[in-house]
Symmetry: C2
Subunit: 167 residues, 2 copies
């Protein structure tokens, strides 16, 4: 937008998340703050799936350098979703975020035992979605598909080492 490139070209692929967010901010007259810059790095450097709480846990504490208040983390995560950088969905009551920008469309399998999320991609699903929607007179803006079950590891008796086992 700022440098007006040829219009029909998908700019996206050539911009880093950081650049893309800058663009988003500029087009809306929003400001580029140290918190926003820090957070976008923190989010895109690290995780695949996370919630606000997990993210806050990994960030500097109050008093430390680069501390960002929880309120700002929540506010900024919503901006990231707005900007198309992240996607969010609800799982077990909390809001889960995942990287969207630069990632192919996909859906999830959720192991209700180890609480891990796995991804899968299915064009068939999207086709089916669009067919159903058009039959119902719906203009689709998105969907959320989560397959629940027990993952391979958890199926074989006692699970071995797993990340968040403190639950």
């Amino acid at each position: 937008m700022s440098t007006s490139p040829e219009s029909l070209q998908p700019l996206d692929v050539s911009l880093s998340p950081q650049e893309r967010f800058e663009e988003y901010l500029q087009t809306r007259g929003l400001r580029q703050t140290s918190q926003r810059k820090f957070l976008i790095d923190a989010v895109f450097d690290e995780h695949e799936h996370f919630d606000a709480d997990e993210l806050i846990d990994r960030l500097p504490r109050r008093g430390e350098k680069n501390y960002v208040s929880s309120a700002t983390v929540y506010r900024t995560l919503r901006e990231f979703v707005d900007a198309g950088l992240l996607k969010s969905f609800q799982l077990d009551g909390r809001t889960v975020y995942e990287l969207d920008y630069g990632y192919p469309q996909h859906d999830h399998l959720y192991c209700t035992k180890c609480k891990q999320l796995f991804e899968f991609q299915s064009d068939l699903l999207v086709e089916m979605r669009d067919k159903v929607a058009s039959e119902m007179g719906f203009r689709v803006t998105g969907h959320r598909m989560i397959i629940q079950g027990i993952c391979r590891e958890c199926t074989k008796g006692r699970r071995k080492k797993r990340k968040q086992d403190l639950v």
Copy 2:
């Protein structure tokens, strides 16, 4: 269970939700209270989709006959899900319930404008789900598919009368 009928026969179809819940309670040594009886009637007499708050709103107030405390409503809704009478899922932060017992498997379209839920049924979706799951080594216990978009009514300019328009 209590009268031990022929084993391979699907008992379900012949039992009312009330009977089915009784059975559930009996097999677990739980008690049949007036609150549980009242709630199962309230739930199965009325609604398709609802959340705890909406249900509580429709029930007798404190002091009135058949009053049930919110805590008990929450506790009992979870029992209903446990008993296979209701299904629950998260939508916009709240827990939505719907009748499950006696209803065919289905999924939802959600209009983000009027907040209405619509249903659809697709065997293809279930097939796809099972295929994906088996490829991933998952033992499926269920799934949740929600197609978001704008419904037909909301697409044609200003929507007309709609239920929960107080939002």
